[in-house]
């Protein structure tokens, strides 16, 4: 990442298409460098959350009894906290850092995934194909993971792509509050926070472009979710 490559607070020009910030850093190159970080954190968070949530929720929905009861109480506990506040609390205790951010942000949508997977499996576990699978000698765990979970994936994935845009915004919000990854590293949220004073003095581009990127990333995930929803309407293969 280039530092001090231009004059400070230079408005967008051919040399610096996104302008420069108060240290003279090129906003475009910082924005691009931050993209790898923000996109990979978002994808990692969603993958982690959807995987854990699907396994947890489908096991609870399939086997029921005390495990299901315990699961629901834990989810209610998680839902009782305002999500961003919870994330801030945990990071304040655990300290900033890439992995901590991923785990904490993954915790926020987890109850939704667990509930969704649980409801899907509960509604399908008495379907005939599940009973037929038992009849040909499958173990209950096999019925769950080979037959019921694949049948529940579409709503989960559709939700995951919508959720990814929320996650992108949350990661940005934590960065803005200085609770994200290491201070100083290029991340859209922390870049906005760096540029917030400059907005008042007229240098809109310092915070504006990173903000636009968060918006574009969220919009991109929405497009993916639309595509998944369309594949359902066309009677796709899954």
């Amino acid at each position: 990442m280039a530092t001090n490559v231009g004059p400070i607070y230079d408005p967008p020009s051919l040399a610096h298409p996104f302008g420069t910030d108060r240290l003279g850093d090129d906003i475009l190159s910082r924005t691009m460098s931050a993209a790898t970080l923000d996109v990979s954190i978002t994808v990692a968070v969603v993958l982690l959350s959807v995987t854990v949530g699907t396994v947890w929720g489908s096991v609870a929905g399939f086997f029921g009894s005390w495990f299901d009861y315990l699961t629901m109480r834990i989810l209610e506990l998680l839902n009782a906290f305002p999500s961003l506040l919870l994330a801030m609390l945990v990071i304040a205790v655990a300290g900033p850092g890439l992995l901590n951010v991923v785990f904490v942000v993954a915790l926020l949508p987890l109850p939704d995934y667990v509930r969704l997977a649980r409801a899907e499996v509960r509604s399908k576990k008495n379907w005939q194909f599940a009973e037929a699978a038992k009849l040909v000698g499958r173990r209950p765990v096999g019925v769950l993971f080979a037959h019921l979970v694949p049948n529940s994936l579409r709503p989960l994935l559709t939700y995951a792509s919508v959720n990814a845009s929320q996650v992108a915004a949350t990661v940005g919000a934590l960065g803005f509050l200085g609770l994200g990854i290491q201070p100083g590293s290029a991340e859209w949220g922390s870049m906005i926070s760096r540029g917030q004073d400059a907005i008042l003095s007229g240098q809109w581009w310092v915070a504006g472009f990173p903000g636009l990127m968060i918006f574009l990333l969220a919009a991109a995930f929405h497009l993916i979710s639309d595509a998944i929803a369309d594949s359902r309407d066309q009677g796709g293969s899954w």
Binding site: Q128, F129, A132, K134, V136, G137, A146, P150, L153
Partner: protein
């Protein structure tokens, strides 16, 4: 072979019912008793609500929620299924006894290809690799007379007609090589010509593999043409059981007589 090993399924004084809101059992089955000899094609006949399907589901351990058995025994090859431990019972399902449902398309998993599902069952019961399992699945589809098995393997259940799906279910049941195959109304809802095809197919497969079959139906015409042994049920009770010829020609029970005179058997014979 002695007399007891000659019997595949022996149901003795089986009773059960649905629990109502006051925890009272409303009886659905009362003292159901019958046995099925090895190698025969048996049938359980009765109208809707006679308890024939719930008897079959009890044998398979798939009773619906709220239903419980209150008394009786279900012996499969001499072992009581009701007191058997779950792991042993699971081992029996598929290999020992298997079932073909009425609505074959609902019994296939909508998200996987038919070929994948049959190959999957092959792999549960036979120690073979993926490729060999697919080859055997294709062979099975060919055996149940599905045209173009190689192409059909790659299709999803929604691309199958009712009759083709029922054939695929038969292929899946055959993949387990069960000793007793229960067929719950396998031809209801199919065209008459396809009904006849499927019944012929079942008879041929039975002859080739030597398995015992138990057909559950309301159609006495189907029974008269295809079965050796008949159990007639009404309102949760067995009215009469015996060989097919005896029951069709010289029924002793008034309900059986009624059933025969109401069916089209009399007109055709």
């Amino acid at each position: 072979m002695n007399a007891s090993s000659d019997v595949v399924l022996d149901v003795k004084r089986l009773s059960g019912g649905f629990e109502d809101t006051d925890h009272q059992i409303l009886p659905v089955l009362t003292d159901v008793t019958f046995s099925i000899r090895r190698g025969v094609s048996a049938a359980i006949v009765g109208e809707s609500g006679s308890g024939k399907s719930i008897t079959a589901l009890s044998v398979l351990g798939l009773t619906p929620a709220g239903f419980s058995l209150t008394a009786g025994q279900i012996r499969f090859e001499g072992e009581d299924l009701l007191t058997m431990d779950p792991a042993r019972r699971r081992k029996l399902s598929g290999r020992g006894l298997s079932m073909v449902f009425q609505d074959a398309r609902a019994a296939l998993n909508p998200v996987f290809t038919v070929g994948w599902q049959i190959a999957d069952v092959v792999r549960i019961h036979q120690d073979v690799g993926r490729r060999e399992a697919r080859r055997r699945a294709e062979e099975l589809l060919d055996r149940v007379r599905v045209p173009e098995p190689a192409r059909r393997m790659k299709q999803y259940p929604h691309e199958f007609s009712g009759g083709m799906a029922q054939r695929a279910m038969l292929a899946m049941a055959l993949a387990c090589q069960p000793r007793l195959l229960i067929l719950d109304e396998p031809t209801t809802g199919l065209d008459v010509t396809i009904q006849a095809d499927i019944l012929d197919l079942i008879a041929d497969l039975k002859a080739a593999s030597g398995m015992t079959t138990c057909l559950i139906t309301h159609d006495l015409g189907v029974v008269a043409e295809n079965c050796d042994q008949v159990v007639v049920m009404q309102q949760g009770c067995v009215r009469e059981s015996g060989s097919c010829a005896q029951i069709i020609n010289t029924p002793t029970d008034p309900y059986t007589k009624q059933l025969i005179s109401d069916s089209r058997l009399v007109e055709t014979s």
